[in-house]
């Protein structure tokens, strides 16, 4: 067999000692701060817009928000967490998250809107679909940045699937906030204005996942 070069060990240990790297505690702290910054940015933007809509019953708005928040929490846990493996979740799990996230949010929004007979049944236009689409993306921007920061350059196996799942998870947070704000409840509006941006973020995550999340030689 080819023997290990005798000086390789010393070279690697010396190179590692010269290059500082964050320990688990430091990394956990920076991940926590990134999450906090993302939550503050999205909630700040949400509050700047005036808080939840007054045109719907508060209990239904709260129900919609809590359900969507739970969906976002589960999606984030599945997408960003590694489980018990350093290589993260399986490709199948990640792809499922990216597909299920917009569907789950849409389904929950439809259920919540069905409970509110006082919600406006008409008045939606393509402009209102577009406004919600843009604001969902804006609400999701900070979570996208935080998740990309936490998992950047870390996936040697399936970065595209990871990108899609992270995009879907971040998009669901945006979907939660737009659900709380938006008074429109028709299936068309919820699909185009609330769920479609999540699907778009998942697609963008798949597109740029290899570049941002993939492990690369330095």
């Amino acid at each position: 067999m080819s023997a290990l070069p005798p000086n390789l060990r010393a070279r690697i240990l010396e190179a590692a000692s010269r290059e500082p790297s964050p320990t688990r505690a430091v990394r956990s702290r920076s991940a926590f701060l990134a999450s906090l910054a993302a939550a503050s940015a999205s909630l700040g933007l949400s509050l700047a817009l005036g808080g939840p809509t007054a045109k719907r019953r508060a209990a239904v708005v709260a129900l919609a928000g809590v359900g969507a928040g739970l969906a976002a929490l589960v999606a984030t846990w599945l997408a960003a967490g590694r489980g018990s493996s350093m290589l993260g979740r399986s490709r199948g799990t990640l792809v499922s998250v990216s597909i299920a996230a917009p569907i789950a949010l849409l389904a929950w929004s439809l259920v919540a809107s069905g409970m509110d007979p006082s919600a406006p049944a008409a008045g939606e236009t393509w402009v209102s679909h577009g406004v919600c689409f843009v604001f969902t993306l804006l609400f999701a921007a900070a979570p996208v940045a935080a998740l990309a920061y936490v998992r950047r350059g870390s996936d040697p196996v399936h970065p595209r699937a990871l990108g899609a799942a992270l995009g879907g998870a971040a998009g669901t947070w945006g979907g939660m906030l737009i659900d709380v704000h938006c008074a429109f409840t028709s299936p068309l509006h919820l699909t185009l204005g609330h769920a479609a941006p999540i699907a778009l973020l998942a697609a963008l995550g798949a597109l740029f996942g290899a570049r941002i999340l993939g492990l690369r030689a330095k």
Partner: protein, 231 residues
């Protein structure tokens, strides 16, 4: 040198039930891991927690396996050495994300494999066939005949392995040559255990078809004949 025990023990390699080929006895690049995966993973976990001295243990436990794997894959010791160094530095940079209780072996192999593939994609791939021909040993000493024959056999096996579809070859190499369990190989390749098992089995069957004489003394269909005599 004899192969590592995992090359001889299908159960230890994940219980595929696939009978190992006798070339494991003649392999020249097999390696023995001085420490168990659990020890190395525990050391990596300590390193993630800030115990700087633990990285040497991680190196000692993984470097021989990684170097053997990369040398076999690249046929270039200098390149393998460079990739081992890059792999460990990537692990060093990412130590803070190491999950307590996770297995470090699939992670290390996945990093090494990714860096190697990236290197190939940047146009650094060696012409493996030519390297095989250059490496073909010739007997100059009667006492070395056995070794030379073994090396020629290993070369023949490598050549046949190189002809397999990549998915099958990689699965076979990780499980049968590197001694990874099916679960570990599945993690490295980002696929399921059953997919790895199937690929490794198909690779074995394909090799058995062309190397039957090596396996059980029966004449084998040559790969040239198998491909319609066009190769």
């Amino acid at each position: 040198m004899l192969a590592s025990p995992s090359l001889h023990a299908p159960a230890a390699a994940g219980g595929t039930g696939i009978v190992l080929l006798p070339w494991a006895r003649v392999r020249t690049a097999a390696v023995e891991a001085p420490r168990s995966s659990a020890d190395v993973s525990a050391a990596m976990s300590r390193y993630a927690g800030g115990d700087e001295s633990a990285f040497a243990i991680v190196y000692d436990g993984l470097a021989p396996r990684l170097y053997g794997y990369l040398t076999r894959q690249t046929r270039d010791t200098a390149r393998a050495e460079d990739l081992v160094q890059q792999t460990f530095l990537q692990m060093h940079r990412a130590r803070g994300s190491f999950v307590s209780g996770a297995d470090v072996v699939p992670w290390a192999f996945a990093i090494a494999r990714r860096l190697m593939i990236d290197g190939f994609r940047r146009g650094k791939r060696e012409v493996l066939e030519d390297a095989d021909e250059r490496d073909e040993p010739h007997a100059t000493d009667p006492a070395a005949d056995d070794l030379v024959q073994a090396q020629q056999l290993a070369t023949r096996i490598r050549r046949e392995l190189a002809r397999l579809p990549e998915t099958q070859r990689v699965a076979f190499e990780l499980v049968k040559e590197e001694g990874l369990s099916l679960a570990e190989a599945a993690e490295v390749l980002g696929t399921t255990v059953s997919a790895v098992k199937l690929r490794a089995h198909r690779a074995y069957e394909a090799l058995r078809a062309v190397l039957g004489d090596v396996i059980d003394g029966t004449p084998a269909e040559s790969s040239t004949e198998k491909r319609g005599g066009t190769a």
